[in-house]
């Protein structure tokens, strides 16, 4: 086990998979000579050369679609969006081409492609550069959506995503690139997509959290522990396919659930999880399902307003206390 940042764990996964399969190539803005806008692709150009590590023009729709076409011909592209905010320009190719190709061709053309890059909130970059898009992509059958919350998960899930025969949306949290954690050295360390992980065991309430919300939920659980509330923190890790059985299993055990997310609440992933819990475990609930979400506003620039727009440990603690009828 080595202690790596999330950034280096992702870099390791990319390096190992590029070395493993010559059909894998990486394409995106500033991924090669600049070494990646967030340095996730550092050193890859030197190691694998310009044929496989390709700097693109700023042309998201174009290179996303080029990737899908290359996948139709049997390659396994990794398409980096400098941030997922820019993937909005490429959604026609992601949704209308990548997600639907296998189905509308009657099973003839699979699209083994990974669209990856940072997403979610960043630091004071205002509305167009600070948003969570997972519910958009998770909406579409044909896509898989992955959001790691630790360096080890980042490595194991990215390697699985690259080996997967489907289009995978892999969203790295922009604020988490520097987060450190132990990462297995094994170059065959993979984490299957669609499997949740209990990040902390508990008995009194379940907190469902993903990506940036996982470390916050763990802190909230520690604080609540002082008040005698034992929280279970469960991270789905993959939004689609969603390991709803694991979530429902935890809820049946604790009978109380808080869903923490930094995305907008309306039509969000939390809303979907809440609906599933209500359909599958209503009789087990001792309190209504509670969501803690980002504010339903575009992200503001000012530091104090940005802080107000994002859920923090305090809100998660308050929500657990609310569903536990402690206040």
């Amino acid at each position: 086990m080595a202690v790596l940042t999330m950034r280096d764990a992702l870099n390791t996964a990319l390096r190992e998979e590029l070395a493993r399969d010559p059909d894998v190539f990486l394409m995106g803005e500033e991924v090669a000579e600049y070494q990646g806008a967030y340095k996730v692709t550092r050193g890859l150009l030197d190691e694998f050369g310009p044929k496989r590590i390709i700097d693109t023009p700023i042309t998201e729709l174009g290179f996303a679609g080029l990737g899908v076409g290359a996948a139709m011909a049997g390659l396994r592209p990794i398409i980096e969006f400098m941030t997922f905010n820019f993937s909005i320009l490429a959604t026609d190719q992601i949704i209308n081409s990548a997600a639907k190709m296998l189905y509308m061709s009657g099973g003839q053309f699979k699209i083994p492609i990974v669209f990856r890059g940072p997403g979610g909130s960043a630091y004071q970059v205002s509305s167009q550069h600070s948003q969570a898009l997972e519910s958009w992509y998770a909406y579409f059958p044909g896509l898989k959506v992955v959001m790691p919350s630790t360096p080890a998960d980042a490595k194991g899930l990215l390697k699985s995503a690259i080996r997967d025969d489907n289009p995978v949306i892999f969203i790295e949290q922009e604020r988490m690139y520097g987060m450190k954690g132990e990462v297995p050295d094994d170059d065959n360390f993979v984490i299957p997509l669609g499997v949740a992980e209990v990040k902390r065991e508990g008995t009194d309430a379940t907190i469902v959290a993903r990506s940036l919300m996982v470390p916050l939920a763990l802190k909230a659980a520690e604080e609540l522990d002082k008040d005698g509330v034992s929280c279970e923190v469960i991270d789905p890790r993959t939004i689609r396919p969603l390991d709803i059985d694991a979530i429902v299993g935890s809820v049946k055990k604790t009978s109380r659930v808080v869903i923490a997310e930094e995305s907008h609440p309306f039509c969000g992933v939390g809303a979907e999880i809440s609906a599933e819990i209500n359909e599958r475990a209503f009789d087990y609930l001792d309190a209504p399902v509670k969501r803690v979400s980002g504010a339903d506003v575009p992200m503001p620039y000012a530091k104090n307003l940005e802080n107000l727009a994002l859920p923090g440990v305090e809100q998660i603690v308050a929500a657990v206390r609310e569903v536990s009828y402690l206040d």
Binding site: G62, G65, L66, A71, A73, S97, M104, G106, P241
Partner: protein, 365 residues
């Protein structure tokens, strides 16, 4: 760099895109000046008889197939949107005759004719239109999404311009894998106004990709004429912006299409370079079967029909003693029978199994 003239009219009037020694056309090469033509014949040289007969046979098959589609659509046998290729047969048949079976074709939703030309059996195409299990996309794609991996026909795509980055990616893969397979990427002129076209051409020349972009300029994007939609109407000239070789071709002349595509294929295979071909053509039917066609006159359609691609090619083949009247009658009968067979096959094919609703969503769970 081919044909980088700046004067659109000059290019059309000088018959650029026609092949000296192969085709000798009437004074103007563009179908939009057809009314000025006194002689609408083409001369056939330098092609072997089997090739010529085969081109004619395919165009005729596609014409009759599409006429049958219109009939079946009106009987309610075909659902959804149905975009017919009638009038444009020379473009797809001529271009596809210039490539190998292992080369790729990717195109738009007006693709029945190109699918047949690339080698999907008419039976499998008709069954797909009927929404049947034996359709080439197993009933999941329909008219706009015909696919057949076995002949490298990579789809009809139904977002205008969406197939242009895909074709660019297919060409990228050929180069990456160090094969000499080329890609033909078809689209209508309306797709040229989409960003996908410009983004793709830029990447194709930047990275020297063996993609042949074929713009089928049929003068209308649905009901909006070229003049109302495009500031610079000379599509071929847009290649200059990306330093891509381009040609303007009479899309009613199957041999001109074949020869222009052969040149582009050579450039792609030998030098790994892209080409933009603008083929001037015309669709006789509506944009789709539900189009009442109020945006153009009957007289305009008839004007283009004077240079019907099948009519002028038939005349050339007869003049050159390639086909006799009897050959043509036999071919007509053969084609009629094949289309009837396609309909019979489609009628008899079962509907997809209800379990198929949930298959092919993911390649693995």
């Amino acid at each position: 760099m081919a044909n980088h003239t700046t004067n659109q009219q000059e290019r059309r009037d000088s018959s650029a895109g026609s092949v000296a020694g192969v085709i000798d056309k009437a004074p103007a090469s563009s179908p939009n000046t057809a009314d000025s033509q006194s002689d609408q014949s083409i001369t056939v040289l330098n092609e072997d008889r089997d090739t010529l007969k085969n081109l004619f046979h395919q165009m005729l098959l596609i014409r009759r197939f599409e006429e049958k589609c219109a009939e079946s659509y009106n009987l309610g046998k075909i659902g959804g949107f149905c975009h017919l290729y009638i009038g444009q047969e020379a473009v797809g048949v001529g271009a596809i005759s210039a490539i190998r079976k292992d080369d790729y074709v990717v195109t738009s939703y007006r693709e029945h004719g190109q699918a047949i030309a690339k080698g999907i059996p008419p039976e499998a195409v008709m069954a797909e239109l009927y929404g049947k299990a034996d359709g080439c996309s197993h009933g999941k794609g329909g008219s706009m999404h015909l696919f057949d991996a076995s002949v490298n026909f990579l789809g009809g795509h139904a977002i205008v311009g969406g197939q242009i980055p895909l074709g660019t990616g297919l060409a990228f893969a050929s180069k990456y894998k160090e094969t000499d397979r080329v890609t033909l990427c078809f689209f209508g002129e309306a797709a040229v106004n989409q960003g996908a076209f410009h983004e793709s051409l830029n990447m194709a020349q930047l990275w020297k990709l063996p993609c042949i972009y074929i713009c089928e300029n049929n003068m209308y994007g649905m009901g909006t004429s070229l003049e109302r939609a495009m500031s610079l109407q000379d599509v071929a000239q847009k290649a200059c912006a990306y330093e891509i070789a381009s040609e303007f071709v009479d899309g009613m002349d199957v041999l001109a299409m074949r020869q222009a595509t052969l040149r582009a294929v050579k450039r792609a295979r030998e030098k790994s370079l892209p080409t933009l071909i603008e083929a001037r053509t015309y669709r006789y039917m509506g944009h789709s079967m539900s189009d009442p066609g109020k945006y153009r006159t009957r007289a305009e359609i008839e004007k283009y029909q004077e240079r019907d691609p099948i009519k002028i090619f038939r005349a050339a083949l007869q003049e050159n003693d390639i086909l006799t009247d009897q050959d043509i009658s036999e071919l007509e009968a053969q084609v009629k029978e094949r289309v009837e067979q396609a309909v019979k096959f489609a009628e008899e094919s079962p509907e997809p199994d209800p379990n198929e609703l949930y298959t092919d969503v993911y390649a693995n769970p």
